[in-house]
Symmetry: C2
Subunit: 210 residues, 2 copies
């Protein structure tokens, strides 16, 4: 996996999309410059999840933008997505890899340095450093790494790194400057009045801090 | 698949287990005579779901009792369960079959006669006729088939049939007499003071009505 695809990583969130269509937000975000999309659905039925994943795959594949599915290996397999992102309480990594094979991308969230050391011993494709900052997006997250913790985590990681948690136009400059390979954005795109313009602004901040 | 395994079908339900351990309820139910177990988890993390499925598989496989996973093809694959049970809003049947192959059991819930006719055109292993009676277990279910509807559904079905919804010691006699190959029980076992004794009582009713 080319780690450049991690640069500006959109994570979808239905409640934070303010009633707007997920597919439309993804379309605008890609036009604005996101390099990879993670479909995250916590409430909908498996049938809806698979159907939406298929529509996003049809939208993203021709553009060369990978589609990652949060947690659900079955949905990723059914929709032939490019991979999954798993957290510490999701399916164990080795099971996910066995089911998906090595042609698929698997990212793993690490919530502390112990998680990170364990991830270093796995052949995951990237890690999500989660959360870097406190965030209203998720209420169940661990103690934030903070910028200093992020520096340390990036230095320690054997894998490409994506920073998540509190990523917006004000924060991503220092995060990219700290050496993260990418930033994972949720509300700064999903809740923006114009997801396209918000993404362009984020992309400019990244370019100015590389 | 030998349809005799469908005879007394336990569907687990965490809230209806009244705080008791799912594994313990399943163990007692198997001692009492259930012939197949469906693990249904709606709230827990994928990691917990996989871990519990593995423990149940280790418990059930030596006893020759199949383990079916509700909805989650990924959990079934990770734990090498014997199959999945899917509803009308879960993964489409053809995707589930493609991912699981023909060595695994796939059951499909039908909520009306149109669903049943569509199921007749599929190579599912059994259908769940759902619900036969109104039930407090699920609030999102369709209009009940009733006993007359069950008779008709059993006659129409190209596949073995399991009746679900309101199955207890008072109702399963007439359901078995109506020709259903099995009854799927939730609260009558999961909420029973003694799941073992409750299962034995259900088993006796089945034997007296075959």
């Amino acid at each position: 996996m080319n780690k450049d695809i991690l640069k500006l990583y959109l994570v979808t969130d239905r409640p934070l999309s303010l009633g707007r269509d997920i597919e439309q937000i993804v379309r605008e975000a890609v036009e604005g410059g996101v390099t990879i999309v993670q479909l995250r659905e916590k409430e909908c039925s498996t049938g809806e999840f698979v159907a939406l994943a298929r529509r996003l795959k049809a939208l993203l594949a021709p553009l060369g933008v990978p589609l990652i599915i949060n947690d659900r290996v079955d949905v990723a397999l059914a929709a032939d997505a490019d991979g999954v992102h798993i957290g510490q309480s999701d399916m164990p990594y080795k099971d996910a890899r066995r089911l998906l094979g090595y042609d698929k991308i698997i990212g793993l969230s690490v919530e502390n340095f112990e998680d990170l050391e364990r991830a270093n011993a796995m052949d995951v494709d990237y890690i999500g450093i989660s959360p870097v900052y406190g965030t209203p997006t998720k209420s169940d997250t661990a103690e934030p790494f903070g910028l200093e913790g992020l520096h340390k985590a990036v230095a320690m990681s054997a894998h490409p790194t994506v920073a998540i948690g509190g990523m917006n136009a004000q924060t991503i400059g220092e995060v990219i400057a700290a050496g993260a390979d990418g930033v994972a954005v949720v509300s700064a795109i999903c809740s923006a009045p114009s997801p396209r313009e918000a993404t362009k602004e984020l992309w400019n901040v990244i370019k100015n801090n590389e």
